[in-house]
Point group: C2
Chain length 207, copies 2
């Protein structure tokens, strides 16, 4: 049985070293490369096509989301496992949309990493979402409202500091419309002013 070829992408040398150390303890895994950015990752993939790419989501220049899109476009058979710290869960759906097969917390243990790799290599999805979440966090997550695309648009503009009428101009709609969206956002987030709105939105990476 062939070993599973894994490429790790992360801008933190520490994490790369850590992953190398942990992956080398897994007997069915073979490391094909360690890349500290998306460019180098694509180079590495070209020379030695891995089975799985484990990539950080938050990276300067080209993010993990974009890298995943690139990989899936050029090498659809390569599986991608996204890695992030706990406060970026909002990016998971983005990653999955781009074709990621797994989601790993940076606080993952060797066992979890092992499980993630073997699960993903069997064409299944691995999500380590709830593993380290407190009840409070779970509650907060479940309360996360579903926003329409227009609402997201308006929210990000609010967060940019624009007023209703400025946003209305940008979106070519009436200020009344923007105000409606704003009110819906307040209701959905269950807050009663802009401050609460931005705070929550920022917390869940929506802005």
């Amino acid at each position: 049985m062939d070993k599973i070829k894994v490429l790790v992408v992360d801008d933190h040398p520490m994490v790369l070293e850590g992953m190398q150390a942990m992956l080398s303890q897994i007997d069915f895994v073979q490391i094909t490369g360690l890349a500290r950015n998306a460019y180098l990752a694509m180079e590495d993939i070209k020379t030695a096509i891995p089975d799985i790419v484990i990539t950080d989501i938050n990276m300067p220049e080209i993010s993990g989301v974009e890298l995943t899109a690139k990989i899936k476009k050029e090498y659809p058979s390569v599986k991608v496992i996204a890695m992030s710290t706990f406060n970026e869960r909002s990016l998971i759906s983005q990653m999955v949309q781009q074709g990621a097969s797994g989601y790993l917390l940076k606080s993952a243990s060797r066992e979890q990493i092992e499980e993630a790799i073997s699960t993903v290599s069997r064409n299944k999805l691995y999500m380590s979402l709830d593993l380290e979440l407190s009840n409070k966090e779970q509650d907060e997550m479940s309360k996360l409202p579903v926003l329409t695309s227009r609402e997201k648009e308006v929210l990000s503009l609010i967060a940019e500091g624009f007023t209703n009428s400025q946003i209305a101009e940008k979106l070519f709609v009436s200020p009344y419309t923007v105000d409606s969206h704003r009110k819906n956002l307040l209701t959905k987030f269950d807050v009663n002013n802009t401050a609460g709105l931005i705070k929550l939105a920022a917390k869940y990476g929506l802005v």
Copy 2:
């Protein structure tokens, strides 16, 4: 010449492994332990007193700040190097106040870690603050206004979603006063509404 004894504290196994891998490449360093939380770190220190403790700031239960306070209280001669990801710079001053001797980004290279350890062991402060910052970030950082303690207090309450009068009640002052602070904050941050305020404050970890 004796080796410098180092203990690493981080709740992420990946980082611990990474640090171990990187530190073992430094010939003048001897790892006395790897702890995944503050409790275990204190145990480790008891059995083998290290010269330097490298600790993550963001940890569940007991934070790096609290751990540093504990260490400096019980073992004043032990040096502490704080470690964090880039968006927590606001904690640096807290760490320094608690007696930390260094600050290391998690994106640090082996060279930087080496430098941090040797600098700190020579009783100097090591701050890796500006190392990996882009010009844009540097500019933004340098523009960061100095807030008074009252202003910080008011800002965090604004971010919590309270109105001026609610804040006034909490602080036992007149709403006029709170309004003054709010206006000063707007001026200092050079923004013109609450949204811009919170966004900036959040960006620099002030809330």
